[in-house]
């Protein structure tokens, strides 16, 4: 198999090398566009020191007709981990389905996406890979409050007669197509979101949703997001409040997570980023305050070097992170 794959890739890349634009993938034809990404990181904290080839992913997408398009993304993560203290290595080259969907574009007001897809909520969740983010780490909001993926249907588009207001209505009533990388396993997830792009420098929106986890906890959440760009500065904030009914013990708890992130672009390649996070889990009686200061260098947009220091209200969780990531 490998002896077939290597000549295939050499052939494809030879054909397209001259036309290749880093970060835009390789277009075989209208029906097939290939790309992918990877990221590595190095983390040092009080109890941990590790190096990871965190994820390797391959993407294929294209237009099957004027109305019909598709996306397939397969990912292995973490591919390689080395823990310095324990002197241990872990390898994982099993690729799993990260996204598999088809899109039917009927009009600007009505589109339908069916399959496994990223949950259309907020900003962070829609750009979940290292190379597209401004920090190596993710805020707790992005993996604690709602499932990152929907395996079902999303009806979306622009609200009729509006130039800037877009909507999503999504639903899942089955297990996830591939549960390996899903943050919250569930078989019931419904929601809706609205986003108003006042102009390209100012956007805000919100979502509501409900999901039931495998351990029969029903969460209902409300989410708000806002982004404002002013010359070299970008301010971005999201907040999610969740009400959780635990039917096993007939108890109701809540969770709240938010972050406020500020980015200053020193020039086209260098940025400084600061983030404050607040997370509260009523059931665990736990509250965290996290402050992050980071630096990002992008020689071109699709190649990212980042470093950050995280200061946590639980000082055992303070950490230093550097990462290198590429979208190709």
């Amino acid at each position: 198999m490998r002896s077939l794959l290597i000549p295939f890739f050499i052939f494809i890349f030879n054909i397209h090398l001259q036309a290749y634009d880093m970060g835009r993938g390789v277009e075989i034809d209208e029906k097939l566009h290939l790309g992918g990404y990877f990221s590595t990181d190095y983390e040092v904290s009080k109890n941990k020191k590790l190096f990871r080839l965190d994820d390797v992913a391959l993407m294929a997408y294209g237009n099957l007709s004027d109305e019909l398009s598709y996306m397939i993304e397969l990912e292995a993560a973490p591919v390689y981990t080395y823990e310095f203290e324990a002197d241990q290595e872990h390898n994982n080259l099993r690729f799993h389905k990260e996204r598999v969907y088809v899109d039917y574009k009927y009009s600007d007001a009505l589109n339908v996406r069916v399959g496994k897809q990223i949950t259309p909520i907020g900003y962070w969740n829609l750009e979940p890979i290292n190379v597209l983010r401004d920090t190596s780490s993710n805020p707790l909001l992005s993996n604690q409050m709602f499932p990152k993926f929907v395996s079902g249907i999303d009806i979306y588009g622009y609200v009729p007669n509006s130039e800037s207001l877009s909507y999503h209505i999504f639903a899942q009533n089955n297990r996830d197509l591939d549960e390996e990388y899903i943050n919250i396993k569930n078989k019931h997830f419904f929601g809706a979101s609205l986003e108003n792009e006042v102009d390209y420098n100012f956007q805000y929106g919100g979502s509501i949703g409900e999901f039931i986890t495998d351990d029969a906890k029903r969460s209902r959440f409300i989410q708000l997001n806002i982004k404002y760009e002013m010359q070299a500065f970008t301010l971005q904030s999201e907040a999610v409040w969740s009400n959780i009914e635990d039917h096993n013990v007939n108890k109701t708890d809540y969770k709240f997570a938010s972050y406020l992130q500020s980015l200053y672009r020193v020039d086209t390649k260098n940025s400084i980023v600061g983030r404050y996070e607040y997370f509260n889990d009523d059931a665990l009686n736990s509250t965290q305050h996290i402050g992050i200061i980071g630096y990002s260098y992008r020689p071109i947009y699709s190649v990212s070097f980042k470093g950050e220091y995280q200061l946590n209200s639980d000082s055992d969780l303070n950490k230093f992170l550097i990462s290198f990531s590429v979208l190709f």
Binding site: G25, E27, H33, D108, Y301, L327
Partner: protein, 136 residues
């Protein structure tokens, strides 16, 4: 007298300076008759695909052509670095930039031959086969 001449010249040069040289155009048979700057931006960033019921297919001229740079600066209001970042993010979403033609004449041919095509041309290339929607 000299004051009046100065005012006249200032007026003349102001008018020349702001006279539009380029236009957003579609084929004469295309039912679209007008378009806003925001609609143009949304179409060329592939956020919108229709104007009314008419499907649109944006076409760019090559990235190094002065007209492309002028269009990006004055209509999209985005510099090249920002656009590169934008299309990199779109690649992750499975969306590719508009197709590109190497010359103004090939843009014109594309518009004349592809149903729903929309592009930009210097005004001196516009004839009765092309419909102007917006001047810039």
């Amino acid at each position: 007298m000299s004051k009046a001449i100065t005012i006249l010249f200032t007026l003349f040069f102001s008018i020349s300076l702001y006279a539009s040289e380029y236009a957003i155009v579609v084929d004469k048979k295309n039912p679209i008759n007008k378009i806003s700057k925001k609609q143009i931006k949304n179409i060329f960033l592939k956020r919108r695909h229709f104007i009314g019921k008419q499907k649109t297919i944006p076409v760019n001229i090559s990235a190094n052509m002065p007209l492309r740079i002028y269009f990006e600066k004055n209509i999209l209001k985005m510099n090249r670095e920002r656009l590169n970042g934008f299309w990199t993010k779109q690649h992750f979403q499975g969306i590719t930039p508009p197709s590109t033609q190497s010359s103004n004449n090939s843009v014109k041919l594309f518009i004349q031959n592809v149903d729903g095509a929309i592009g930009y041309l210097p005004k001196n290339l516009i004839d009765e086969s092309i419909k102007v929607l917006y001047e810039f």
